[in-house]
C-alpha cells in the first residue's frame, strides 16, 4: 500500500512538473552551439584541418559582434563550436552527428569539404532532427544523386563546386566545376596536340573514387582522349592496395601519356613511386583528392620530387577578393586568414581547406543572425534566403537543389630544392575567374624524373 502511494505521488509530481514545463515561460538561450564531425585523424586528416577555419570564423564572429544577437530574445550570446573526430571512418559520422544533436544539443551542423562518405550521414541526421546543416564542399553530384536521389534533403545546404553543372544551376559561367578547371588546364597545355592523347585512369574503390571512375573516363573520351582499359576497370583499386606494379606495367605497355584519377594521397604516393621505379613517366598527371594537401605531397618524397607538376582542383585562394571589400567576418580577408594559419602552431604549409571551413561557418552564422532565433525551421528559412559574399565566393542556394557553387581553380605543385622546410608549393595555373588570379604558368610536360 505504501509503495502504491509512493508511486502515485511520484507520477503526480512528474505530471505536474511537465505541465509547468509546457506552460511556463521559455528560457532565453545562453549560447549558440555549432557542431561538426571531422576526420581530424586517420588517412583523411588533411581534410580535418578545415576545423581550424571553422573555429576561426566562430572566433571572428565572437570578437567582432561580442557574440550572436538573437532578436527573438533580444540577447547576445557567445557562439561555440564542437568538433568530433571521426578518425576518417565513415561509420562514425552518423553516430557522431546524432550525438552532437542529441547530447550536445547543437543548433546547427557543419559538414566538411571531404570525401562524401564523411558528410553524407550528417544529412540524414539533419533531416531527421530538423537541424539545419551546411556541407562546405564538393563535388556536389555524388551527394545529390548518390545518397539522396532526386529529392533534396530539406535541412541540408551545399556550398561547394560541381563536377559538371546540374541543369538549372545558379551560375552558368565557367569556373565553378571540376570539368571546367580540368579541361581549362588541358587546353592551356594543348594536351590533345602535345601528347598522344592516350590516358590511363586510376581511382580508389571508396565512394569518392567510384563516383569519379564512373563519370570521368567518359568525360575524358568526350574531350578527345583515348582512355585505356576502362572496360576491364584497369586502375580501379581497393583501399588495401599497396602494390601497383601491374597497372603501371599496363599503362606503360599502352604508351599512356596522360595519367588522371582520384584517390587518397597515401595511395597515390605508392602509385607514383611505382611509376618512377618502372621508368614510366606520363606527360600530364592529374590526381584529384590525392594532391590537395601539402603534407601528402611532401610524403611522396624529394628524391626524386614525385609530386613536382602533379595537378588537382583548388578550392580556395588566399588571394580571393571582390572589389576591395572584406569578404570574411569583420575585417577578415582571405589573405589574413592564410597569414594566421601560417603563423599558427608549427607554421604549417597552406591547407586550402581552411577557406572552405571558414566559408560554411560564415554562412551558417549569418543565417542564424538573420533568423534571430535558434529555431531550426527559422534558421533553415534564413539559409534559403542567403545572399552573401564570403571568404570563398558569393553564396546563394538554389531553391530546388540547395546548391550554391563557389569558385574553383586548378593548381599544380611546384618544387623548390632550395626550400627545405616547404619544398612543394601549389600554384594556381588555370582559373576562369578574375577573383582567383593565376599564379604561375602550367608545368608541361612533367619535369624529368630521370636526370
Amino acid at each position: 500500500m505504501k509503495k502504491f502511494l509512493a508511486i502515485t505521488l511520484a507520477m503526480v509530481l512528474v505530471l505536474a512538473m511537465s505541465i509547468v514545463g509546457c506552460t511556463g515561460e521559455p528560457v532565453a538561450p545562453t549560447k549558440v552551439v555549432l557542431g561538426a564531425t571531422l576526420p581530424v585523424t586517420g588517412i583523411f586528416a588533411g581534410f580535418g584541418e578545415q576545423g581550424w577555419g571553422m573555429q576561426k570564423a566562430v572566433d571572428d564572429w565572437n570578437d567582432t559582434y561580442g557574440g550572436m544577437y538573437l532578436s527573438e530574445w533580444d540577447v547576445t550570446v557567445p557562439v561555440e563550436l564542437i568538433i568530433k573526430d571521426n578518425q576518417s571512418d565513415p561509420n562514425q559520422v552518423g553516430p557522431q552527428s546524432t550525438d552532437l544533436v542529441v547530447t550536445n544539443k547543437v543548433d546547427a551542423l557543419l559538414s566538411p569539404n571531404a570525401p562524401c562518405d564523411l558528410h553524407d550521414p550528417t544529412t540524414a541526421v539533419a533531416t531527421d532532427n530538423e537541424v539545419p546543416s551546411i556541407i562546405g564542399g564538393g563535388p556536389f553530384e555524388p551527394w545529390y544523386f548518390g545518397s539522396q536521389g532526386e529529392v533534396t534533403p530539406p535541412y541540408t545546404w551545399f556550398a561547394g563546386f560541381a563536377i559538371s553543372f546540374p541543369s538549372g544551376a545558379p551560375r552558368n559561367v565557367p569556373g565553378y566545376t571540376m570539368v571546367d578547371t580540368w579541361f581549362m588546364f588541358m587546353d592551356a597545355v594543348g594536351a590533345l596536340s602535345n601528347t598522344n592523347g592516350i590516358a590511363g585512369v586510376f581511382a580508389s574503390s571508396d565512394s569518392d573514387g567510384t563516383g569519379w571512375y564512373q563519370s570521368f573516363p567518359a568525360l575524358m573520351e568526350d574531350y578527345g582522349l583515348t582512355v585505356v582499359g576502362v572496360n576491364e576497370t584497369l586502375g580501379f583499386f581497393p583501399l588495401t592496395t599497396t602494390d601497383y606494379s601491374s597497372i603501371v606495367t599496363a599503362w606503360k605497355d599502352a604508351n599512356v601519356e596522360v595519367l588522371w584519377g582520384n584517390c587518397p594521397g597515401a595511395h597515390f604516393g605508392d602509385l607514383i613511386a611505382e611509376c618512377y621505379a618502372q621508368d614510366f613517366e606520363p606527360k600530364i598527371c592529374l590526381a584529384a583528392r590525392a594532391a590537395l594537401f601539402p603534407l601528402d605531397v611532401e610524403s611522396w618524397g624529394t628524391t626524386p620530387p614525385l609530386g613536382y607538376g602533379v595537378g588537382c582542383e583548388v578550392w580556395w585562394s588566399p588571394a580571393y577578393q571582390v572589389s576591395d571589400g572584406f569578404v570574411g567576418i569583420g575585417n577578415r580577408t582571405a589573405a589574413s586568414l592564410a597569414a594566421d594559419w601560417a603563423a599558427s602552431a608549427g607554421n604549417p604549409p597552406l591547407n586550402r581547406g581552411i577557406g572552405s571551413g571558414y566559408m560554411e561557418t560564415q554562412v551558417m552564422l549569418n543565417a542564424i543572425h538573420e533568423a534571430g532565433s535558434l529555431d531550426g525551421a527559422a534558421i533553415n528559412a534564413a539559409l534559403a534566403d542567403t545572399d552573401l559574399d564570403t571568404i570563398s565566393g558569393w553564396v546563394n542556394f538554389d531553391p530546388v537543389t540547395h546548391f550554391s557553387a563557389v569558385p574553383l581553380a586548378f593548381g599544380q605543385w611546384f618544387y623548390d630544392s632550395e626550400n627545405e622546410d616547404e619544398p612543394f608549393t601549389q600554384y594556381i595555373v588555370a582559373s576562369a575567374l578574375s577573383e582567383i588570379p593565376e599564379e604561375d604558368s602550367p608545368i608541361f610536360p612533367l619535369p624529368d624524373w630521370w636526370p
Binding site: F237, P238, S246, A266, T303
Partner: protein, 291 residues
C-alpha cells in the same frame, strides 16, 4: 611462348620479392601464436611503430633506417619483453580472451600514440636509394623489393636458427609444442612468453623499416598488414618458420600473378590470395607446410 615467359617474369619476380616483406611481417605474429596461442591483433600496429621509429631517427639524426635498427631491435625487444611480462601475462591469469582484449588495447594505444607524436599524416622512409632499380639481363629489379626479400629470408633464417640452436630457442620450441610437458621439464611458461613477444617485437622493428621503405604509412596502416599476415600464416601453416616463409612467397605470387592474368586488375590482386586461403583451408587446413 617466349613472349609469354618474358611477360610472366616481372610479376613472378615481384611476387617473390614482395613475399619477403610479408614474411617478415608475419613471422612475429606466427611466433606469438605458436607459443601462446594468442592472436596478437596489435602486430600490424607494432610494425608501423617500427616504421615510425626509423622515420623519427632518420628525421632527428639523419641516420639510415637500417642503421637505426642497431638501436631499434634491442629497444623493441626490451619493450616487447616488458609488455608481455607486465600486461599480457597478467591477463592470461584471467583467460586467453582477456589477453586478446589486451592486444586490442595495445593496438589502439599504439595507433593513438603514433597519431599524437607523429601526426596522422602519411609518411615514407625517404632514403636516397629507396627507388633505385637495376637491370639483370632483360629484367629490371627494384632495390626496395630486393631488400624485402633479403630481409625476409635473413629474419626467417635467424629466427629459425635461434629456435633450434639456442638454449632459449629450444625452450620456446618446446613450449610451443607441448606447454604442460615443457613446464614439467622446468621451463617457466611466462618467461618463455616474454621472450617470444620480445622476439616478435624485434621482428616488427625490422619489418617496420622494410615496409616503410617499400610503401607509405600512417598510424592506421597497420591493420591491412595484420590481415595479410593471417593469410600468410594460414597458407604456410601455423608456427612453422619455413612454412611462414613459403606462405609469404605464395601470398605475394598469388597477388602479382592474379593481377597479371586478369590484365592488371588490382581488385583481383587483392582478392586472389584470400581465395587461395579458402581453398587451402578446405583441402589442407593445417597449411601447405603444417603437420
Amino acid at each position: 611462348m617466349e613472349d609469354f615467359l618474358v611477360g610472366l617474369a616481372p610479376p613472378l619476380i615481384k611476387g617473390i620479392l614482395l613475399g619477403g616483406l610479408y614474411v617478415v611481417i608475419a613471422l612475429g605474429l606466427s611466433l606469438v601464436f605458436g607459443v601462446m596461442k594468442l592472436i596478437n591483433v596489435a602486430h600490424g600496429d607494432l610494425v608501423i611503430l617500427g616504421s615510425y621509429f626509423a622515420w623519427a631517427v632518420m628525421g632527428w639524426l639523419g641516420i639510415d633506417p637500417f642503421l637505426s635498427l642497431v638501436a631499434g631491435v634491442p629497444l623493441f625487444f626490451v619493450l616487447g619483453f616488458f609488455v608481455q611480462k607486465f600486461i599480457i601475462n597478467r591477463t592470461f591469469r584471467i583467460s586467453l580472451d582477456a589477453a586478446l582484449i589486451a592486444c586490442f588495447g595495445i593496438s589502439i594505444i599504439v595507433q593513438n600514440l603514433c597519431q599524437a607524436i607523429w601526426t596522422p599524416f602519411n609518411r615514407s622512409l625517404l632514403t636516397d636509394y629507396r627507388l633505385l632499380t637495376f637491370a639483370v639481363g632483360p629484367l629490371t629489379i627494384q632495390l626496395r623489393y630486393l631488400l624485402d626479400f633479403i630481409g625476409g629470408l635473413a629474419v626467417m633464417l635467424a629466427v629459425r636458427g635461434f629456435l633450434r640452436r639456442t638454449y632459449l630457442g629450444r625452450a620456446i620450441s618446446a613450449a610451443s609444442q607441448n606447454e604442460p610437458v615443457a613446464e614439467r621439464m622446468g621451463i617457466n611458461p611466462n618467461r618463455v612468453y616474454s621472450f617470444a613477444f620480445a622476439i616478435a617485437m624485434a621482428c616488427a622493428a625490422v619489418a617496420g623499416v622494410l615496409q616503410g621503405l617499400t610503401f607509405s604509412f600512417s598510424p592506421t596502416s597497420g591493420s591491412p598488414f595484420l590481415i595479410i599476415s593471417f593469410g600468410v600464416i594460414i597458407l604456410g601453416g601455423l608456427g612453422s618458420m619455413a612454412g611462414t616463409f613459403i606462405g609469404g612467397m605464395v601470398f605475394g605470387l598469388t597477388q602479382t600473378l592474379g593481377a597479371y592474368f586478369s590484365g592488371g586488375s588490382l581488385l583481383v590482386q587483392s582478392i586472389a590470395p584470400y581465395l587461395l586461403v579458402f581453398v587451402i583451408l578446405s583441402v589442407r587446413p593445417q597449411g601447405i607446410f603444417g603437420r
